[in-house]
């Protein structure tokens, strides 16, 4: 299928997903009322508030976060030639978790600002260590292993602080780590979307350079690519995307791993198609996960990180069994 057709199809799918997702929630807003609210005047002030201040920011942040995480995963996989690479592997979420823990225990008063800021700084801290180590590694596999080691180290420090910390702060951090879009606002959408869109523009500019890496580093060098600089640039973009998403939405696992896997299957692995496919499908996926999170159980909002983890793990078991069947 041609890239323009794929993009058009996915764009329509996204518009439908956003429109339908806006009708789900505790308050009953019909599709007719929704169309009225969106394109002319709401019939009640309550509906207007619910739609513009609660549901729309939530759906849009869900889309931006899903698109960002899926793109970050896709680009890490292509630049490291490892189908299991994921933003979580580089310790970004563990760093954010440590930052959130320190904020919860130390800055109880201004937690609304302190928690996302500390999470962002924590994510940057962990990725800085990975960058520092990247100067000394010979092979890309060593960089991935370094990321896993840092992830466990920061995770252990977080758990120790939670163990000795007060129960209220511990609860807060644990809930935050499970991921949620419940408290997002429109300003956060602007911030997340600008980081994600900016990063995607840079990634698309380098899409052919990233493709050249597929046949090996030396192959890319012979085509004029500065491999080390390209890999560090892509790692920095993924870190920025993940840090800003984790800071406001908490831990959302598996999106960066699962979505690129699906997109590769249907559209191929060239970076251009992969990034366009991952942005739309990742975004729509998180919109619908959030719909499940707020409507699966009456009067109870489920953390989206739990749902993505369940879907993701089942998906990988399915892929593994399919693979066995096709090889057997």
């Amino acid at each position: 299928m041609k890239l323009t057709n794929i993009s058009l199809l996915l764009f329509i799918l996204t518009l439908i997903s956003i429109g339908l997702a806006l009708t789900f929630g505790a308050a009953n807003i019909s599709s007719t009322q929704l169309v009225q609210c969106l394109f002319s005047q709401c019939n009640s002030a309550l509906n207007e508030t619910i739609l513009w201040q609660i549901r729309l920011p939530r759906v849009l942040v869900g889309f931006a976060a899903g698109a960002g995480l899926a793109c970050a995963g896709a680009i890490l996989q292509n630049t490291t030639r490892n189908p299991l690479a994921d933003p979580y592997l580089f310790g970004i979420v563990s760093g954010a978790g440590l930052g959130a823990t320190i904020a919860s225990i130390g800055f109880n008063d201004q937690l609304n600002i302190a928690l996302p800021l500390a999470a962002f700084l924590g994510a940057l801290f962990s990725i800085s260590i990975v960058f520092f180590i990247a100067n000394f590694v010979q092979r890309i596999e060593q960089l991935l292993l370094a990321g896993v080691a840092i992830s466990f180290m920061l995770g252990a420090i977080t758990q120790f602080m939670l163990y000795i910390g007060e129960p209220l702060a511990t609860n807060r951090v644990l809930f935050w780590l499970m991921g949620s879009l419940a408290r997002v606002e429109m300003t956060q959408f602007y911030l997340i979307a600008s980081v994600v869109i900016g990063a995607i523009i840079v990634i698309l500019a380098y899409h052919q350079h990233i493709d050249a890496l597929a046949l090996g580093d030396e192959n890319a060098i012979s085509l004029g690519v500065n491999v080390n600089k390209l890999r560090l640039l892509m790692l920095a973009l993924c870190a920025a995307i993940t840090a800003v998403i984790v800071a406001y939405c908490g831990g959302i696992a598996f999106v960066g791993l699962m979505i690129p896997h699906i997109v590769r299957h249907y559209f191929g692995s060239s970076t251009l198609k992969l990034i366009i496919g991952s942005s739309f499908i990742g975004g729509c996926f998180l919109i619908w996960v959030d719909v499940i999170a707020r409507s699966a159980v009456n009067n109870l909002e489920l953390p989206i990180g739990i749902i993505t983890s369940i879907i993701g793990s089942l998906f990988f078991l399915y892929i593994m069994l399919q693979g066995n069947r096709s090889h057997g």
Partner: protein
């Protein structure tokens, strides 16, 4: 002499000087290797190698395993750059040239491992455009035509939408040669292009390489194939040049016996009437294998 005649004479002199300059450039070697040495952990891999590659030559680097053949290519391609000595391309130190410039003039057909992710034949051939493209440039009609011509020249048009990993070794080598054509390089470097290929594909690849009329530098294990398809050979052993010259000069049985450690004979092929080298396995080899077991 009138002023007009004087001007004309001056102009002729200038033109002659320009022509001589151009000739000097075109006649100077495309690639010059001067006193090249490289070592790893105090072990010398390449020892003071010096040779030139002229435009139009098809040069084969031969030698036993560990002779330094691939290391030499890796230095030329700047995968290794902590070597001593100088490598000049078109009279300029290759270290002073940008990666992009090198990629526009030197194409490589490497030994490749299967890529982890799916790429089509067209995707791989299209990579040859990379050295010429700025970041946001899209593919032009000329680019599409260049790709189509490269695919046609390498007999890959019917396979352009196939997955690269699904192709045979010979077909994958052809894809990389098609990519090299899109790169429009002056020098084609091939690292063991016939490795893992059956006899049919070995000849097909080397015939294709020869038909491109490019300057070629390749490492090659099969000495008879090297003799058939190269215009000049360089014999390496323990990082040193043992012989460099016409094929007949280099493929001397005594020389090859010393380098490869096996008795060697040269025989004339009764059908093609060309010289072939033939090695004989020794009982000493079998003895070593038995002792190892």
């Amino acid at each position: 002499m009138t002023k007009a005649e004087q001007t004309k004479t001056d102009q002729t002199k200038t033109d002659n000087t320009k022509t001589e300059d151009i000739r000097a450039v075109t006649q100077s070697p495309l690639l010059q290797i001067n006193d090249l040495s490289w070592s790893v952990a105090n072990k010398a891999i390449l020892k003071q190698l010096s040779f030139n590659i002229n435009t139009g030559e098809v040069v084969g680097i031969i030698g036993p395993n560990g002779a330094g053949k691939t290391s030499l290519l890796r230095c030329i391609l700047q995968y290794i750059n902590n070597y001593q000595g100088k490598i000049c391309f078109k009279n300029q130190d290759i270290k002073s040239l940008s990666r992009q410039f090198i990629a526009q003039h030197v194409a490589v057909v490497n030994q490749i491992n299967d890529p982890v992710f799916k790429l089509s034949v067209s995707d791989v051939v299209r990579m040859g455009l990379l050295p010429y493209k700025s970041l946001f440039a899209s593919e032009t009609k000329d680019d599409t035509q260049t790709i189509a011509q490269a695919l046609a020249k390498t007999g890959l048009t019917a396979l352009k939408n196939e997955e690269f990993t699904h192709l045979s070794g010979g077909e994958q080598q052809r894809v990389l040669i098609a990519r090299a054509l899109v790169q429009k390089a002056d020098l084609l470097i091939l690292d063991e292009p016939t490795n893992h290929l059956d006899v049919y594909y070995q000849h097909q690849i080397l015939q294709l390489v020869n038909s491109l009329k490019l300057t070629v530098l390749m490492t090659i294990h099969d000495l008879n194939l090297a003799n058939d398809y190269c215009s000049r050979l360089i014999l390496l052993d323990h990082g040193k040049i043992i012989a460099d010259g016409d094929n007949d000069q280099v493929l001397q049985p005594t020389l090859l016996s010393d380098v490869f450690g096996l008795p060697c004979q040269q025989i004339t092929d009764p059908i093609t009437n060309t010289q072939k080298v033939y090695f004989m396995a020794t009982t000493q080899q079998n003895k070593v294998i038995h002792e190892a077991n």
